[in-house]
Every structure is written in structure tokens, then in C-alpha cells.
Symmetry: C2
Subunit: 336 residues, 2 copies
Amino acid sequence: MTLTLPPAEAARELVEPVLREAVGRLDPHTARVARYHFGWTDDSGQPRADGGKALRPTLAVLSGRAAGADVARCLPAAAAVELVHAFSLLHDDVMDDDPVRRHRPAAWTVFGRSAAILCGNALLTLAVDLLLEQGTPGYVAAARALNLATLSLIAGQAQDLAFQDRDDVTREECLRMSRRKTAALLACACSIGVTAVEGPAGLAAALAAFGTEAGLAFQLADDLLGIWGRTEVTGKPVLSDLRTRKKSLPVVAALTGPTEAGRRLADLLARPEPLTEPDLHDAARLIEQAGGRAWAELEAERRLDAATRHLADADMPADVRDSFLHIARFLAFRDH
Amino acid sequence: MTLTLPPAEAARELVEPVLREAVGRLDPHTARVARYHFGWTDDSGQPRADGGKALRPTLAVLSGRAAGADVARCLPAAAAVELVHAFSLLHDDVMDDDPVRRHRPAAWTVFGRSAAILCGNALLTLAVDLLLEQGTPGYVAAARALNLATLSLIAGQAQDLAFQDRDDVTREECLRMSRRKTAALLACACSIGVTAVEGPAGLAAALAAFGTEAGLAFQLADDLLGIWGRTEVTGKPVLSDLRTRKKSLPVVAALTGPTEAGRRLADLLARPEPLTEPDLHDAARLIEQAGGRAWAELEAERRLDAATRHLADADMPADVRDSFLHIARFLAFRDH
């Protein structure tokens, strides 16, 4: 069964005008890169239909609704989180030399690395400014929360880079890295609405804890898709994470277990020459034999359970809680 | 005569602890890059004496003093402006492939491009957070002013990149680009102290106008040093800007004047092969013959005069005004 994300359409339709207005404030060079990256235009600047999941804006809107606020009051927060997400994708693709993003050429391949770096910087700055211009104490607090999430995201990416030079990364280190690189911004998305509309601090904390666990489930699912995902739904080459020898969670789990398959996987990944197609399929099989796939699948479920428990502790309208749960399940079990 | 910058020592001593504390909040990988970039450590992490001019913190502290505030109240603003400046240098060196910064290997050559990009992002985020954590309306307004300056800086850099593919850049376009890329952050430094301590809006506006003109004088002087500066004082190779065929202000002025020397310069710079040492010296001579050097020197003086007039309109203690003027003269006429 393919899980879908029903409320995303609605959130995207509400948030997109805010994003478009914000991008419209940028200089023409930078705005052009941003519009392409968001999927609003093609590489010649012509309009096209967008394809983003609008996951983080959806969570931010739900967050405000959890505190009883109108959707309209949370839209700047929803847009700001999406801008920070867009910033991180633009920069990550440059740093990882990744030529594909959302089934299209990554922005840096179209406009150059410098233009992509500058556009990322602009979106990050715009995100904070969108919050500050609301002029309320709640929105100032939201800006601080977003800054902290951004610093976490940067720390996680720095740690991920450092992992590339090490062959002794533990599961715990890898989970800690994912908590910063992926889960921190999702936790911020889940709580920023409450903060922005000056809702209860306890509710913001519970939703942040929910978002952290759901974010880890999301990363585990992402890492599973990076090895076993189908190209036609992920938009990435088959076995893409193995090609780049990424130390993703299933790989690290396989390498750190005391199995013969794990040892053979370590030898395979340590080879200096590029991995052939048969090598990649061998690697995927060894990860599975060493228990890396089963561990990641089980860990995603455990994280989903933990997320669910955090949500149970928090007081919010039933339909908002249901939507949060639906999304968390999507994040943990999606196939794209 | 070599002009010096006397109040910088004092401002640096006051601001550096604030900067060090802020950098101490970053993850260890990113903090290491930041400490190296600020000149506090060498490439192995050992302490060394710093060499920065602390120009922007000095201006920010003077700005607060212009509004009658204690120096201590302006220090977060002074540190924030320096963090944004550090962010822009880290990223510019990556984008321009520039291997030298302040007589030392640029951070990206030591830690890699990705680490330098991430460190820049972290310093930008930290800058805004340093302002917001002060928790006053003045400091929230200061954060917005800094965000606007950052967006200007990005727009200027994007425009500068676009100039590389054009051979019809006008003086006016080039000045407009410099106004964004260089002068906007200096204007912010000159006014952010007033904003942060909630001084008169008119004073902030006058000091921003002063900073814009002084910033243009600074850029003109910088462009002159990039061609005729002495390596032992600038720390850059002789004729460095000509080597990279940078469309700096004296070059554009030479190219856009209807002179025979200007036409010969255009032909020389249009050659596909790398420029030889004799070519570079020819180019410098042609710029001078075409009037590019004289125009830039005169324009720097005109900008300094305009800056001085803006300062005359504003009410502030006499010693603060004298310091601002001294710095503006240094910016326009320095030899390093």
C-alpha cells in the first residue's frame, strides 16, 4: 500500500503565496534560482506545476492549530520552515555533488555552485525576516527556535561530513547525527506554530519531542529507500546511497554488528576502486544478511511508537492529533 | 604616509570575548573552522595572535556611542556585524576560489569547501541569534536591519557573478553592485548601534547614509589596491584583480571611457589564453592611461566628501564624530 499525505495539498496552497511573495523580494538573479528550486519554473524561467510535498509547512500549520489558532496566523511560520528546508537542500546538493533533486537537475547544475550557495543564504535570511516582521513576541521566539534548529542542522551536516573520513562510526553516533541533521528541523516545524501564536510551552515541548522521534523515523525510512527504494518513485538511481558509500543508518548497523556478512560488507566498502553494479547488489544483500535492514525497519517502528506516546501526552483537537499521527506513519513507512 | 585605525584595538578587545563565547556554542567541527578563520588558532588548532582590523565592530560601537549609550550595550550588535562579515568572507573565498585571506591560507583550503560553507552558515545564524537573545525591541529591530544588509550583500555578490559573463557593465551598475556588496554592511555597522539602543531614527538614517558613502570609498580604495597595492602590505599577489580579470571599478571606468587605451585594454582582457606577467603590467598601464585610476581616486574622494556631509547633519558627541571621520578617511586612502 502506498501511503499518501492528504493535508499537504491544502497547506501547500496556503503557504505557497507567502513563499512566492517572500522570494519576490530577492534580487532577480537569486529569485530565479529560488523559483527553479521550488519547482515553480523550469530552467528557462517558464512556469511549471510544483511537485513539493510541503511536509514541513503542513506540520507547522497543524502546530498552530494544536494551540487553537487560525491557520492564517501560522502561515509565516510555515513558510519560514520551508525556506530553511529549501536552504539546506540547495547547500547539501552543492556539498554532496548531487546532480538530482526531486526528479530534476539540482539547481547548482543549472545556475552554478556559487548561485546555489547564494540562493541558500538568501532563503535562510528571508526565513528569519519573515518571522521577525510579524512583530509579536511569539514570532520573535519562533525566530529563535528556527535559528536553533538551523544550528542543529548545520552541526549534523558537519558531523556527517566528518563521518566520511572514519570507519568506526557507531549506531548511537549515527542516530545523534540524524537527530541534528534531519529531526531538529522537523521538531521545529511541529512546534513553531505553538510558539508563534504564543500557545502553552508544554504543548510546544511535547510536539517538538514528537517531531524529533518522527524525524528519526523519517531518516530511517529515507536511508532504507536510499538502498532499496524504487527509482520510479524516489527519483534517485537504484542503490544510490551505496554508490556514494554513504554511512547511512542501515549500513552502520550492518557494519557494527558482529556478523560475517558485516565483515564482508566492510571489506567491500573499503575497496579503493569504484563499486560495480554486481558489487552494489552484493552490498545490499550483505547489509540485509548482517541485519542492517531489519534493525532500521524495527528502529523506525520504535521511533514511531515513541512519537505516538509524546502526542498522547499533549492536549489538542482530535482532528489535529489524527493528522499528526497520519503524517508520522507516512514518514516511517512511505515508499517515496 | 600610512594611515592607521587607532580605536580598533580597543573595540577588538571588547568584542572578541563576545565573539569567542558565541563561537563556543557551535559544534566542535564548525567552531574549529571559525576559530581558524578569525585568526585565533592556526590550522592545527593551536592559539595564535589575531590580526583582524575589527573595522565593523569599531563602527558599531561608535554608532551606539553616537546615541549616548554605554559601549557594553552595543557589544552584541558589534559582534553580530563581525559575524556576518566573517560569513561573507568564508563564502566569497569558496565562490572566488581565492586561496589567501589575511596573509594566510583561506579556511576552505585547510578544512575543505563544505566545512567552510557550513561555518559561514553557522556564523550568519549565530549573528541574528546574538541580537535576538538580547530580548529588547531595539535589538529585534537591529536583527531586521542586519537581515536586510545580508540580503543586500547577497544581491551584490549575485550581481558581481553575473558581471563575469558580460562585457558591457557600466560604471553606474558597478557602483550599484558595490553599494550592495560592500557598502550595505558598513552602513549597517554605522547605524546598528543606534537601532539596538533605541536611539533616534534620524541619527540611524544619517549614520547609514554616512556608512554607505564611506563603504563606496572603501570599495574604490580596495579596487585600487587590488591593482596597484603592494603585496607586503595587502597580503595579496601583485596585480591580483587583473589576474582574475575582475571587473573592478577602475577597470570598468577604463573600459567604458571612449579612449584608445580603453579599447586596447578590452582587447587584452578578451584574450582567451591566461595573461602573462608583461600582459598584467600592460593592463595596469592601460587602465591608468584610460583614466580608470584617476577616476577611482577622485570618486573615492567624492564619496568621502559625501560621507562627511552626512555626518555634519547628525547630532553626536564631538569625539565620536571625529572617530567616524578618521575611519572614513582611512577607508578612502589606506594602503592596506
